[in-house]
Amino acid sequence: MFYRESGQLKSSYISDQAMFPIAQDRWFVIGVLALAFLVVPFVINEYWANAILLPFLVYALAALGLNILTGYCGQVSLGTGAFMAVGAYASFKLVGFFPEANFLIVLALSGVVTAAVGMIFGLPSLRIKGFYLAVATLAAQFFLVWMFNKVGWFYDYNLTGMITVRPIDFFGIQITGPEATPAAKYLFTLTVVAVLALSAKNIVRGRVGREWMAIRDMDIAAELIGIRPLQAKLSAFAVSSFYIGVAGALYFAVYLGSVEPVEAFDINQSFYVLFIIIIGGLGSVLGAFLGSAFIVLIPILLKNIMVGGMGFGSGMAGHVEILLMGMLIIFFLIVEPHGLARLWQIAKEKLRLWPFPH
C-alpha cells in the first residue's frame, strides 16, 4: 500500500530515466545517505570506525569492483586480492613521490594504475572463459603478491617488507595514521564509496553496462549485434580494477595503516570478496553492500554476542563463529541462490501489497 509507484507519472525523459524512478526508493537512498553523512559522524567512535564501518565500506567498494567484472560482464576473477595490492602499493609509492599531493588525486591515480594492470591480466579473457579464466586471473594473484614481497623498490627497501602509510592531510584534516579522528576517516571513505557506487549504478544502466550484460548473457550473440568483445571485456576489466584499486588504497591507507603483502592480499582476500558478491547478489550494486555487511559484520556480531553476552571463552567463540558463519552462508544460498539483493527485491514486491495481501 505504501510502497507502490501508481500515481507517480513521468512527464519528461529526465524523470523517466532517473536512477531511482520510484519515489520511495529515491527517498530511501537519500535517507540512508543523509543518515550516513549527517548523523553517523557525530556518534561514531574508534571501535565503530576502525573495526566495523571502514572494513564494511572498503569491502563493499572492492565487491562493487568485482561485481562489475563478474556480475555484470560474466568474467570470473580470482585476482581481487592482487588488484587491491596494486592499488595499495600504487598509493604508497605515489604518496612517497608526491607527499603534498591531494589524496583524492592519489586515490584516482592508484585506481588508474590498477586499471592498467587489470587490463593486462584481462587480455586472456578474449580467448578463454569461465573456470579457465579464473585460473588465468589466479596467476595475477600469485605473481603480483610475490612481486610486491620480492622487489624491494615497492616497499622502499625497508627491513620487513611491510608498507606503512604516512600521515596524510586532506584539506587540513588528517585522514590517515593514528591521529586521524574516526569521523574524518569514516567521512572520507564514505564520500569516495558513495560517489563511486552512484557512478557504478549509472555506468551499469548505460550503454557500456548493457554491452557488458550482453557479453555476460551470450557473447556470440552480443558480437552478432555489433558489440566488440575486446572493448567490452577490457573496459569491464579496467573499470572493475579501478574500483578494486581504489578499495585497495583505502584498505591500506585509511583502514589498516600498514600492511604485509602476503597476509593482507593473499588468495583468501580474493575469495573473501568473491563470497561477498555471491552472497550479496551477482550483478547488483546493492548486493555488494549487503554482501559486505553480511560477510564483514556478522562474524563481529556473533563474536560480540558470544564473548560479551554469553560469556564464551574467546577460543571457543572463535571456533563456533567459523561454524555458524559456514552454516549461515549455506542457509542463505539455499533459501535464495541469487543472493541477498534478490531477497530485498522479493521483499519490495511483497511490500507493494502489504499490509493487505488479498
Binding site: 576502525n50 627491513l159 620487513t160 593514528p178 604485509e260 560479551g308
Partner: protein
C-alpha cells in the same frame, strides 16, 4: 510469548548483560591479550595464552591481584590475523575501569600495526621478544617495549653459538649459514643482521622464504639438500615449525646444526617428528620445565580450583612458560607503576613509566618463585630491549624435554646497535617523531 517477543527479549538480554557485568565498582587492573586459539598458528598460540592467563589467575587467587587490586584479564581471538587484531585492539583498549594497561599483540604483524597507535591511545605495547626490533630504542619508541631480547640480538647469539661449535669466529669463514624464514615481517626481521655478520665474519648467507601458513616446504628442503649448508637457522611459527623439522629429518639434515628462533622451539614443534627431532636446537631466554615454585602455585591456586585454562600436565612446556614470564614482567611493571606514582588506580600512562623503570633482579625472581627461571632485566629510558641475552636449548627426544645447553650469550652490540639506530631514525623521519632526550 510469540517468537518475535522471545527474540526481542533475548536481544535485550544480550545487550544488557555487559552493562551488569561492568557494574562492579571496585577498581580493577585490565590486562588484555590478543590470543589465537584458531587457525594454523593455534598450536603455538594456545600454550602462550594459557601460561599468561594462568599466571594472572594465580595472582588473583593467591594474592588478590597486584597489591590487593584485582586483575581483570580480557582476551580476544585474533587467529594471527591483522584485521581481526585491529578489531580486537579497538574493542579492548578502553575496557573499564582502568583501560588496557599494557597490550601483548603476540604477532609481529599486529605489533607493527599498533606501534603508531600506542602513543596516541596511551597504551604501552609489550612485545616480548618479537615485533619491531628497533623499538629497542626508547628515544623514538617511548611506548613500545621488547625486552628481554630482540630478534637481532638473538641472531647474533645464534651465530656466536655456531662460532663456538666451529671453533671461533675465524672458523666461520667460508661456512654456509642458511635461514629458513616465514615470509612475513616477522621472518624477515633477522635478515639484515645476519647479512651484516656475514660481511664481518665471512660466512655465506642465504635466506629461503616459506609462505604462510608454511605447510609447503618441499622445495625449500630440496634446495638445502642440494646445497648442503653447514648450519640452518629458522624463523618459523605455527604449523611451519613442525613441517620444517619433519622435512629436515626426512633429508637427514643433522639436527644439532639446525637452530630455531625461540618461537620455533617448543614441544609442539618437535613432537610430530618423533625421535628424528632429537638434538634439534633453538634459542631461549627462560628455562623449560614445570618444576619451579611458581608452577606449584599455579597448580595449587588455579588448577586445583578448576580455573586452569589448559591441561594440567602441559604446565611447564616451553611456550607455556613463555606466557608465564610475559605475565610476570607485565604485572611487575604494574607493581612498579603503583610504587612510582603512589596510587593503586594506575592507568596505561603510569604503567608505561613502570615498564621504563622495571628492575626484576635475582632476588625478586626468587621471591616470585622464579629463581633461575630467567635472567635479571633492567629497563631504562633509552634501552627498551634490556639485557638481550640468549641461550641455546636442545631437544632430548628420549626424555621428551628441552635442556639449555649453552651459556647466555651477550648480543654483539657493535652489530645490532648501528642497525637499531638507523632503523629507528628512519621510522622517526617517516612519522615525524622527534626523539626524546634520555
Amino acid at each position: 510469548m510469540n517468537l518475535r517477543k522471545l527474540t526481542g527479549a533475548a536481544v535485550a538480554a544480550v545487550l544488557a548483560l555487559p552493562m551488569f557485568a561492568s557494574g562492579a565498582n571496585a577498581y580493577e587492573l585490565v590486562i588484555p591479550t590478543l590470543d589465537y586459539r584458531t587457525g594454523p598458528y593455534a598450536p603455538n598460540g594456545i600454550p602462550v595464552a594459557n601460561g599468561f592467563t594462568d599466571y594472572l589467575n594465580m595472582l588473583n587467587e593467591r594474592d588478590g591481584g597486584i597489591n590487593g587490586v584485582k586483575i581483570k584479564h580480557v582476551d580476544c581471538e585474533t587467529g594471527y590475523n591483522t584485521k581481526k587484531g585491529v578489531e580486537c585492539y579497538e574493542k579492548i583498549k578502553n575496557t573499564s575501569p582502568s583501560g588496557a594497561l599494557a597490550i601483548q599483540p603476540l604477532s609481529t604483524g599486529i605489533t607493527y600495526q599498533l606501534i603508531p597507535k600506542a602513543s596516541v591511545d596511551e597504551v604501552p605495547i609489550f612485545s616480548m621478544g618479537y615485533g619491531r626490533t628497533s623499538a629497542a630504542n626508547g628515544k623514538v619508541f617511548p611506548w613500545v617495549f621488547n625486552f628481554p631480547a630482540t630478534y637481532w640480538s638473538q641472531a647474533t647469539a645464534l651465530v656466536q653459538y655456531i662460532a663456538d661449535q666451529e671453533g671461533g669466529f675465524d672458523a666461520l669463514k667460508g661456512k654456509k649459514i642458511y635461514l629458513v624464514y616465514h615470509n612475513s615481517a616477522y621472518g624477515k626481521e633477522p635478515i639484515r643482521t645476519l647479512e651484516a655478520m656475514a660481511d664481518k665474519f665471512g660466512y655465506e648467507f642465504r635466506g629461503l622464504p616459506v609462505d604462510h601458513p608454511g605447510q609447503e616446504q618441499k622445495a625449500t628442503w630440496l634446495q638445502i639438500r642440494k646445497e648442503k649448508p653447514d648450519w640452518v637457522l629458522m624463523w618459523g611459527w605455527g604449523v611451519m615449525n613442525q613441517v620444517a623439522i619433519k622435512e629436515a629429518a626426512s633429508i637427514r639434515f643433522p639436527m644439532d646444526h639446525f637452530i630455531g628462533v625461540w618461537w620455533s622451539g617448543s614441544e609442539n614443534d618437535v613432537m610430530p617428528a618423533g625421535d628424528a627431532a632429537d638434538g634439534y636446537l633453538s634459542g631461549a631466554f627462560h628455562a623449560p620445565g614445570g618444576g619451579f615454585p611458581v608452577h606449584d602455585d599455579i597448580r595449587k591456586h588455579v588448577y586445583d580450583k578448576g580455573l586452569g585454562k589448559g591441561d594440567r600436565d602441559r604446565i611447564g612446556e616451553v611456550l607455556y612458560n613463555r606466557g608465564t614470564v610475559a605475565a610476570m614482567w607485565t604485572t611487575e611493571a604494574i607493581r612498579k607503576a603503583m610504587e612510582i606514582h603512589g596510587t593503586k588506580e594506575v592507568t596505561g600512562k603510569h604503567v608505561r613509566d613502570g615498564f621504563e623503570a622495571l628492575d626484576v633482579d635475582e632476588a625478586r625472581l626468587e621471591e616470585l618463585g622464579l629463581g633461575g627461571f630467567t635472567y635479571p632485566v633492567k629497563i631504562t629510558c633509552e634501552n627498551h630491549e634490556g639485557p638481550g641475552k640468549v641461550a641455546v636449548q636442545q631437544w632430548d627426544a628420549k626424555a621428551k624435554q628441552w635442556n639449555i645447553v649453552s651459556k647466555f650469550y651477550e648480543p654483539l652490540r657493535d652489530i645490532t646497535g648501528p642497525l637499531i639506530e638507523a632503523d629507528s631514525a628512519a621510522y622517526a623521519a617517516e612519522n615525524n617523531v622527534t626523539p626524546r632526550d634520555c
